[in-house]
Amino acid sequence: MNKKGIALILGYIVVVVLTLLGAIFLSRSVVENRLVARHSDGTHAFWIAEAGLSDAFKNIVAGQPLPPADTPFGSGDGKYTVIQNGYQIDSLGTFGTTTRHIRATISYLHPAFDNTVTAGQHLKLHGNGSELIVHGKTRLGDQFEETCSGCSGTFDDLQEHQPADEVTITIPDYNGNGTADEFEDFQLFGDAVINSYPPEEVVYIETSGTAWVYPSSQLVGKKVVYVKGPSPGDGNVNIVFDGTWQDGEDLTIISTGEVLYLQPLGQERDSRLSVIAWSGYTEASVLFNQHESMIFSHSDVDSTDIWSDSSFTGSYISNWRMDFYEYLGARAELTPSQREDLPAGFQFLSNTGTPKLVQWQEIVP
């Protein structure tokens, strides 16, 4: 072994090390390039998907069909496909080999949501000496009637004999059998509502009897109480006073039966207790009655046995008739809500009216 031999070995080592280093840096640079390209493609694909969503929503508002599948975008390198399934719009943007998926929820703002009182048929005031004052809009399929002496109805904006589709809400065809507004559609509507909220915000009760709801701290933070019965008129709910007696609560009670609201006392700041009922809604109170609610009954709405003055904020919507009776010398003042947001569940109640994008999310596979 001499010095030349050592130099050869050292040379080999240096060459091997340099080759390894070169290979590593080459590999890193390839991976990083791929990452950059993927990130760039992903960003492009995301904005393309959002463009598809915007395009679809624009067409829905205009009553036009959705854009065709694989609609090219920009210089044509990207494309989007939009699918609408009920209240959902799915937009898939593709750029290069990357596809990103955005899902948006739309709700239809039925004109009734904007009224203080809406009835598919008449609005009647019974009860001698009673006084009904309605601020905001009143829209009736039939007309306002007073069947009492010394009673009076005062309206800021009353329009009678309105078209049925503006004063009634048809439950969408949730079971997909081609016929909307069936009891099963209503049951499935309730299912869809509770499935759209995290389980911790929902109370779901199956019963053919009656559920009694009292103010309860365990209902704080809940969005929906759904009481489901097997047939129309089952699954009644009786509400006493309020749902929580807490500020800022916004609870909707959905019932496949009738809802009876006894002595409403919902007076907390920014709180709302709303009702969606298949078989009717009745309100009764013996002392001063005050609440903010959005009430929808697929059947009648009765504000009955009101033995003292009442102050209501929100909307009463009845697909049939609405009666204010046994108002014994009492004064009822109805005022539209100042809130812009719909109570839980109402966004799934109608598929007619003005569409509104209420939320969007990216679907990650």
Partner: protein, 164 residues
């Protein structure tokens, strides 16, 4: 001389090992970057997502939410039964954490004219008797039956509400 060769070879091997460690470290950094990118995509998925979040609906236990369920045909019927039914629950509401809320109820009642509760209780009693008489004539009158139940319930509630 042999020693020098061994030292050089060892140094070379150490260098190769260092390079390998460095490359592994870099790869793990890249892997972390990829997983972080994925995680950030997952973060933008809101909790209130669609039906896929909970494919099956599980019924809740009503009692966990202070909700009482009475079966059809069961539950109170007479005034005494209704009084007892509401009394327990409302006494519970008065004593629980909702005391402040109950104070608000009292404030609300103060909006009433004095003795309104007593006046309305008398009127309720009169109305109940009138409907009972109607029902004796026509026991099948469903509307009157419902009305009677409602008035009895209101009377029980009114008994528990405070006076001004």
């Amino acid at each position: 001389m042999k020693k020098q060769i061994i030292i050089l070879l060892s140094l070379g091997l150490l260098l190769v090992a260092g390079v390998i460690f460095f490359s592994v470290y870099q790869s793990s950094k890249i892997a972390k970057e990829i997983s972080r990118e994925k995680a950030s995509q997952e973060e933008i998925v809101p909790k209130t997502s669609a039906a896929s979040v909970r494919p099956r609906i599980t019924p809740s236990r009503p009692q966990d939410y202070g909700i009482l369920v009475t079966n059809q045909g069961e539950g109170p019927k007479t005034q005494e039964e209704w009084d007892s039914f509401f009394s327990k629950k409302i006494q519970g509401l008065k004593s629980q954490s909702s005391t402040q809320a109950w104070n608000n109820v009292q404030k609300n009642i103060e909006k009433e004219s004095p003795n309104k509760r007593q006046e309305n209780l008398v009127k309720l009693e009169e109305r109940i008797k009138k409907i009972e008489s109607e029902l004796r004539k026509n026991p099948q009158n469903k509307e009157a039956q419902d009305r009677l139940q409602r008035l009895i319930m209101l009377k029980s509630i009114a008994k528990e509400l405070p006076d001004k």
